[in-house]
Symmetry: C2
Subunit: 239 residues, 2 copies
DNA sequence: CTAATAGTGTCTATTAGACATTATTGT
DNA sequence: ACAATAATGTCTAATAGACACTATTAG
């Protein structure tokens, strides 16, 4: 006797199975004042109350059609913007990472221009941008420390063969600023000439014609050409 | 008034929240008879009953300490081996991918030597190795088609800058076989000389001293040196 | 002028691709 | 010997690193 899907669903009861706690958390990175910064939020509730942790929270089945939706919802709650770059990093789960039960977290990482969200972040009492150096010294909630490292490592790899890190900058930007972001991610200096050659080869940027005004020779200001997110170099920067 | 974690947990009831269905599924790949093969399982139950799909299933909180545990458990059930290479690919989730409710799947991908599990797979009625070409033509359960493509794409990228694909081979293996795996993943031929140069540079393989015996000149048989999983080339194969 | 920063010229080193050549087996 | 396959020799092209040099601003 074959049962139809309809009959099967009539008798199916999801609450029979022990539930899993599902959270979606995001490692939000930006560049400001010669440093890579990560957004942390002070937890207002148990567990790990009063510890700094990643912005995020439980999946909301009524609001979230997908995992990306959940990530964007939580990001917008803190920054009021939708990030120009969002990527899934990894999913962690275990029976003992949360005292409430078997818990998993889908970790995303986003790059945002700080100018677009600084005011909003400053207005949210419990959210703050930390220098990566500082963040690394803190005791964070759950396994969020490890999540930040995984996200950082991913962006480091991308810095070696792409210009994805540009999304951490406020446009228009100079190639020196962009190079600096790459240097901070990779952890070593990059030859100016090499970097400019790659920028030209990628054909990802347009010269706005404007320049910076500061001490020294003015720098050209560039914007990312629209619809170019994924240029990959065959040859990496040597890390 | 501050509530302690203990008090908080006393009143916390996980069943208050709508549960999410969590499955862990694995894209198992191997190399056999000049083709990349993927392991598919015929579903014995609703939904998508009788469709081919990925090996996997619901997270079992009593058996699985982590998501990797769940992946390994399901892989071992079909192949009777623990794969030499296992990697998390992505997690998908939405309210409408499964008629039973909001559902998510943590997708892993593993590479296995076919010799170690062929007999076991053959003994399991509902499991079969499919050529990638065949698998691409099938109508698969859930969004497993997309999961296979994501895994394949990941392995393709790795084939460009590493020798990770070696784990799809039964050792000892020849460099010609390994090159063929890379070619199938990348979708184009690779210069024999270039490939051998890279193999030498990686220092990942030891010559067993043995050779193949077939028509033509015998090929040297190699093994992977233990504890070398992550050599990365600065310069990619040009795809 | 000098200091500071942006941007270029040009050489070297590395390495992937191309492809001809040599080596080693079975029949 | 010939066919088949493995492995090497060697040239070229592409491109990242190094670093000296030039350019353009502020003061």
């Amino acid at each position: 006797m074959t049962e139809t899907l309809k009959e099967y669903l009539k008798h199916y009861d999801a609450t029979e199975y022990p539930s899993v706690l599902v959270t979606v958390d995001t490692v939000l990175l930006t560049y400001h004042e010669d440093a890579i910064k990560v957004l942390l939020v002070k937890r207002a509730s148990h567990p790990d109350i009063d510890h700094w942790g990643l912005p995020g929270g439980f999946l909301d089945q009524s609001k979230d059609k997908s995992l990306e939706d959940a990530a964007n919802r939580n990001i917008e709650a803190k920054t009021n913007i939708r990030p120009p770059y969002l990527e899934q990093i990894q999913t962690v789960g275990s029976g003992n990472r949360d005292p409430r039960g078997w818990s998993m977290s889908v970790i995303f990482s986003a790059l945002v221009p700080i100018a677009a969200c600084k005011a909003n972040v400053d207005s949210v009492e419990e959210a703050r941008w930390f220098d990566m150096d500082e963040a690394r010294k803190l005791k964070l909630a759950f396994d969020h420390k490890q999540a930040i490292e995984a996200a950082f490592e991913r962006h480091k790899q991308k810095a070696l063969y792409s210009f994805i890190p540009v999304y951490a900058l406020t446009q228009p930007m100079t190639l020196t600023e962009l190079r600096r972001v790459h240097e901070l991610l990779i952890g070593k200096t990059i030859q100016r000439k090499s970097f400019i050659r790659r920028a030209e080869a990628s054909d990802m940027f347009t010269d706005t014609g404007k320049t910076t005004q500061d001490k020294g020779r003015p720098a050209a200001l560039y914007k990312v050409k629209s619809a170019v997110k994924d240029y990959r170099f065959v040859r990496n920067i040597e890390a």
